[in-house]
């Protein structure tokens, strides 16, 4: 039983990590209807930039110069500034020119952006694995493991706290601030928002900047587990089933979807083989070991099952069109 609880906790915490990635997608989709395929690469680029500033790496030469190494209090705001700059560039060179275009065209532009950003990250900061040192705790939570025999990773507890704080800040931003209300107005109806004097371009820059900050948090949390490296961009794949399940426009959906996917895939990987043997073992000789490496695809199965019952996702808006 203890192990089952441990698996569920690990699943929930892994789910929080997926939710962090999904949040970036949701923010941009809400405000501009664009499925930001580049969100994973944004996380990578933000993390690379932060490590570059922390290590004093000279851009393009990839040589670390300790004399230029910045403390975290300086490197983090500077990285956020870089993400704001990217938001401005994305608006200026992509979104502005694609207003009212088909969804598929917007999507393809995001695929292009992902490749451009990945290439730029490689050229500017290099392809090596980089260690990020922000003093984040590593390893198991010793007290819980020693006294209760339950294994929980400290970094995932921190990620859960950060994700919770992020959701609260975003909720306040969206509900209580003038810009937040403008963002919601744009999300509800672009044209109506324009008619009352809300600048679509400003809103896009703001929302891409916020998504950039979320990407930075995501990159740091995932990078703390594996080092900052280019495979980090593939974490976007972890967000897709979360979005399918939680809905593309819902921040609570991203969180709840992440938790369901996290728990579901961990339980499937750990207990799937045993369940199959228990069900069919009397008729067939089955090696429980064959049910491994399910973590990548089982999440999609879970999301598709949910889709059968709620095509708009758990928290997505049901679209009713009158004929």
């Amino acid at each position: 039983m203890l192990f089952f609880i441990e698996t569920v906790i690990s699943g929930l915490l892994a789910g929080v990590m997926y939710s962090l990635v999904a949040l970036g997608f949701v923010l941009i989709f809400k405000a501009s209807g664009v499925f930001n395929f580049a969100q994973g690469v944004l996380a990578l680029f933000a993390a690379l930039t932060l490590v570059g500033f922390l290590n004093g790496t000279t851009p393009f030469t990839h040589i670390d110069n300790p004399a230029f190494a910045m403390p975290a209090w300086m490197a983090i705001p500077l990285t956020i500034l870089v993400m704001v700059l990217i938001a401005i560039l994305v608006e200026k060179f992509i979104l502005r020119h694609l207003v009212n275009q088909e969804q598929i065209i917007l999507f393809m532009s995001m695929v292009g952006l992902a490749y451009v950003l990945e290439g730029a990250g490689d050229i500017i900061w290099g392809s090596d694995v980089k260690v990020i040192d922000l003093g984040l705790p590593q390893g198991a939570w010793d007290w819980l493991l020693d006294t209760h025999g339950i294994y929980v990773e400290k970094i995932e507890m921190v990620a859960a706290g950060v994700a919770g704080a992020l959701v609260v800040v975003l909720a306040i931003f969206f509900q209580k601030t003038r810009i937040g209300r403008a963002l919601r107005a744009v999300a509800d109806d672009h044209q109506a928002a324009l008619s009352v004097g809300i600048s679509l371009r400003t809103i896009w820059i703001i929302v891409w900047s916020v998504a950039g900050v979320v990407a930075l948090v995501t990159g740091v949390m995932w990078g703390a587990k594996s080092g900052i490296q280019f495979s980090l961009s593939l974490i976007a794949l972890k967000a897709l089933p979360v979005l399918i399940l939680g809905g593309f426009e819902s921040i609570p959906g991203a969180i709840v979807g992440g938790l369901i996917i996290g728990v579901g895939e961990k339980l499937a990987e750990v207990y799937g083989g045993e369940v199959i043997v228990a069900m069919f073992g009397r008729w067939f000789e089955i090696d429980p070991g064959i049910f491994t490496a399910t973590e990548n695809w089982f999440a999609y199965v879970l999301a598709l099952v949910f889709l059968l019952f709620r095509p708009q996702g758990l928290f997505g808006e049901k679209i009713i069109e009158r004929v």
Partner: protein
């Protein structure tokens, strides 16, 4: 001059200049470099590619090439992607004077190139990776996989475990798990470990991790629950770093966690920091830059401003750099052998194959090459393309890798029947009549 005359003159120049240059160009030893400097596996691809390229470039700068013939290294980016790797092969095989050898640096790419090698008559050296049964030179005439295959390595690592447990008979009842990259590469040692489990009475269990391996929590929860005595890992890229961190987190003893030699570089352990201390991996060469060959590379390339990647100077001697260097060193020796056998300096891929098959780099020759003690002596024959079949174990001490064991030879009673079975199956499927090597 009228416009029409200008156009005609320019067109003639466009056609004539490349022809003139082409006809004037001399023979060069053309060596493709199947790099992956981009994508998720770039951190491992870069040091290997730099070691491979630096050695050839150093021969050009220090010796004027090999026996006076200049070497041309042709890089091509595969991104560790099988499709791109095959495209690289097709694009570079006729480059310059014709490609002499391919080091695909990917088991997936190697599998695709094996049928092409015999048609194009260009040897493949899948050094310590690729199709294991290619060790049988009677069937796989164009493929070499020395100094040891994955099956040999799996067997050697089990021998190491046996030694640490106090003898092979002590393996009975033990649990040895394999955490593997869910790909052709990762699955290579499974059959061997299953056979060894039967022979020695230990419990084997494989746990696959899907590409790229960024998330593998459930795998390590299973390990925590089932408490294996030893873990072997056939990982690559980010999978290694995450696995080492996860193992440390669940407090799995690092000195009972052994990676294949592709899971034992500086990149793999540094993100885990101090927690990786004690982690083990297979090895067939020493790490470090204290060998005369490294001093020559620094002197003739980096200090002379002729290094293809000058910012890499501080990393010369890393594990994967040395692996690329050793691969190039063996290939350059095959070039010399091919020239000697065929009494020409303008060798072809087919001649290069003969050079590989007659390769004999002993201790004395390693010393002449400035690589005494860097790696093991290699002798290849017509029937044995795997060569010495020797594997050591290296350990991360928190700062650097160090070889901590003897070199182990695999259990050929188990391995040889597997090689024979798989190679004969390949021969039958491809209508190949095994060569008579007598």
């Amino acid at each position: 001059m009228k416009l029409r005359t200008w156009i005609a003159t320019a067109a003639a120049a466009v056609v004539a200049i490349p022809l003139a240059v082409g006809s004037a160009s001399a023979y060069e030893l053309t060596v493709p470099s199947m790099d992956y400097r981009t994508g998720p596996y770039a951190p491992n691809g870069i040091p290997f590619a730099n070691g491979w390229t630096d050695y050839w470039t150093m021969l050009n700068e220090r010796d004027g090439g090999i026996n006076g013939v200049k070497i041309k290294v042709v890089p091509c980016e595969t991104a560790y992607n099988t499709k791109q790797g095959v495209e690289c092969y097709e694009k570079t095989k006729k480059e310059g004077s014709g490609a002499l050898v391919y080091q695909p640096l990917s088991t997936g790419i190697t599998y695709q190139l094996i049928p092409k090698a015999s048609v194009d008559q260009i040897p493949i050296h899948s050094m310590g990776y690729g199709r294991t049964s290619a060790a049988n030179g009677k069937v796989f005439k164009w493929v070499f996989n020395f100094p040891a295959t994955y099956w040999s390595q799996a067997s050697a690592l089990v021998k190491y475990i046996g030694e640490k447990e106090g003898g092979m008979d002590k393996l009975k009842g033990k649990k040895i798990y394999l955490v593997y990259h869910n790909s052709a590469y990762g699955k290579e040692p499974i059959r061997t470990l299953q056979e060894l489990a039967k022979k020695h009475g230990f419990t084997y269990q494989g746990l696959a991790v899907d590409h790229p391996g960024q998330e593998q929590k459930a795998t390590w929860l299973k390990i925590r629950r089932e408490k294996p005595d030893w873990i072997l890992m056939w990982g690559w890229g980010v999978m290694n770093q995450v696995a080492i961190k996860e193992a440390a987190s669940i407090r799995f003893p690092m000195d009972r966690f052994i990676g294949v030699w592709w899971s034992g570089s500086e990149n793999d352990v540094k993100p885990a920091g101090a927690a990786a201390k004690g982690y083990l991996s297979g090895a067939f060469h020493q790490p470090g830059a204290n060998f005369p060959v490294h001093k020559d590379i620094i002197k003739h390339l980096y200090d002379a401003g002729k290094a293809p990647h000058p910012d890499f100077k501080d990393r010369v001697g890393e594990v994967l750099y040395n692996r690329g260097l050793v691969a190039a060193m063996w290939a350059s020796e095959a070039v010399r052998k091919a020239m000697e056998i065929h009494k020409t300096k303008e060798i072809t891929g087919a001649m290069m194959r003969d050079g590989y098959e007659a390769l004999d780099v002993d201790e004395a020759r390693l010393k002449e090459l400035g690589a005494e003690g860097l790696t093991i002596p290699v002798k290849i024959t017509c029937e044995n393309h795997e060569g010495p079949r020797k594997v050591a174990v290296q350990q991360w001490d928190g700062k650097e890798w160090k070889i901590v064991s003897n070199f182990y030879e695999p259990d050929m009673d188990v391995i040889q029947p597997l090689i024979d079975e798989d190679s004969q199956k390949f021969a039958k499927e491809n209508n190949i009549t095994p060569r008579d090597c007598k």
